[in-house]
């Protein structure tokens, strides 16, 4: 299937739920969908278009909104994106369609603070347990303190 053919199939099926669809390059396709259709688009791509391999999920802080990017496919790499607002961000979990999403959703929850509705075990994965609540290091408003060099066990 060509890049354009794949885009056409998805836009024909979901119509105005697709906000933006473009070809990024050879074997790279990007589709921005509205949050309510996000799970259906992922299901359609994974089950009907045969893109059953989940490469990963990425989270991006887009300034006024947060973006979740699903990377699908072995040879063709399809990015399915959706954006949610920053106050109380929540997206449907896709772990029931693609179990591999489990760790990546925990990662995005941990680092960007997006809740995944329906995730079976949405706990911390990378940050320490004593990390303050509500502080998300990958958001743009977070700036890491300048690391202090250690000398003889004491920060100088």
């Amino acid at each position: 299937m060509s890049e354009e053919g794949l885009l056409r199939k998805i836009t024909e099926r979901f119509g105005d739920k697709i906000i933006e669809a473009k070809v990024l390059g050879k074997r790279r396709v990007s589709i921005l969908v509205s949050p309510d259709a996000y799970k259906d688009v992922v299901r359609y791509a994974a089950q009907d278009l045969g893109l059953e391999f989940l490469s990963c999920l990425s989270g991006v802080d887009r300034g006024d909104s947060l973006e979740v990017v699903v990377h699908l496919g072995y040879s063709m790499h399809v990015l399915i994106k959706t954006r949610v607002s920053k106050d109380d961000p929540a997206v449907d979990s896709i772990t029931d369609i693609l179990p591999a999403a489990s760790l990546y959703e925990r990662e995005i929850h941990d680092l960007l603070g997006i809740a995944f509705k329906g995730h079976p075990n949405l706990k911390r994965i990378f940050l320490p347990e004593d990390w303050p609540e509500g502080v998300y290091p990958l958001r743009k408003d977070y700036s890491p303190e300048h690391p202090k060099p250690l000398r003889g066990g004491e920060a100088v």
């Binding site: 990024l24 390059g25 074997r27 790279r28 990007s30 059953e52 391999f53 989940l54 490469s55 990963c56 990425s58 991006v60 802080d61 990017v69 990377h71 072995y74 040879s75 790499h77 990015l79 693609l98 179990p99 591999a100 999403a101 489990s102 760790l103 990546y104 990662e107 680092l111 911390r124 994965i125 990378f126 940050l127 320490p128 347990e129 004593d130 290091p137 990958l138 977070y142 890491p144 066990g153 004491e154």
Partner: protein, 397 residues
Amino acid sequence: MNFEVPIGPQHPIHVEPLMLRLKVEGELIVDADVDVSYIHRGIEKALELRPYIQGLYLVERICGICNAAQSLCYCLNVEQLLGKEAPPRARYLRIVVEELSRIHSHLLWLGHYLHTLGFETLFMYFWRDRERVMDMLELITGNRVTTAYNTIGGVRRDLPPGAEQKLRRTLDYIEERVRYYEKVIDSEPTILARTQRVGILKPGDAVRMGVTGPHLRASGIKHDVRLDDPYSGHDEIPFNVITWDTCDCYARVKVRLRETSECVNMIRYALDHMPSGDYRLKIPPFFKAPPGESLSRVEAPRGELVHYSISDGGDRPYRYRVRTPTLANLLSVVEMLRSRGDYEVYIADVPAILGGIDPCICCSARILITDEAKKRRMITTLDDIIRFSRGRRVERR
């Protein structure tokens, strides 16, 4: 009665800090949980704060062993953003170094894996042969481990004079040794007993769990980024994608062994057909990338490596995302460790199963101390440990 057996964060079977919590009934494992939180270094955030050229140095340090793959993936990504492509000679030189580090990684893994199964001598043998590969890496790149060979727009240096003959001699040696090791492994009953029908991952489960790399190919699925999404002239170089259909730890050993000989052939082909011309483009060290996004994938020794970057037109990435192969493979460990039906997993199988994915986890931030007598757990930070250590002065008289 159920018990929880913690293995880690520091344990002889782990090379790096990793916490495995196993729920056991007698010797049988009924459930498992993996904790990787000992290693987070915040590299994705750090990459947003640095110009592209500085990011290259940081990316190389994500993983010591796959550094060639990491830096290649980063360079491909930034080149894509800039709309540039490395010259043909650079592409072939990149393949030579990438495949050399794959040989070095696979030999390292085989040695370590057989060591955890109790074969000290094989460990020494494998690592001795790996040393020859390290010498070649040093000859070509100037460094043994962190090669620092790839750069934005090509590679840092050309093949030094006389390197080709030395490299060919080493390849002959490695090929012969790998043939010998395959015979050893196939005729050693203990290795077969400890790996065959252990840690079974069916092809369907492997795809569902998002497994990548040699681990996926050992489940009989023919996927390799070099074949499906060629990135550095791999479409010009003939090679076989090795698969094995027994789906167990034995398959993982076989796939990696055979891949090593495949790498040898790829390097030979690249040397035979090495294009002439420049080995790098002239790109100024500090530059602004045009706005856009780019995605690069590389077949690292442990599996598919994904770099995804977004540029807002500045001199540093707006967002840089790295997905390393071990994170993709971790979920399958939990699946393989869980006994169900006829498939039984015992505590003695844990090193074989965990080692089978070639886990690569690094850098510690804190420690979990369990006080069995008082039945309590507490998290101790690095600062606390430093304080404890200073509180207890050793008196010398």
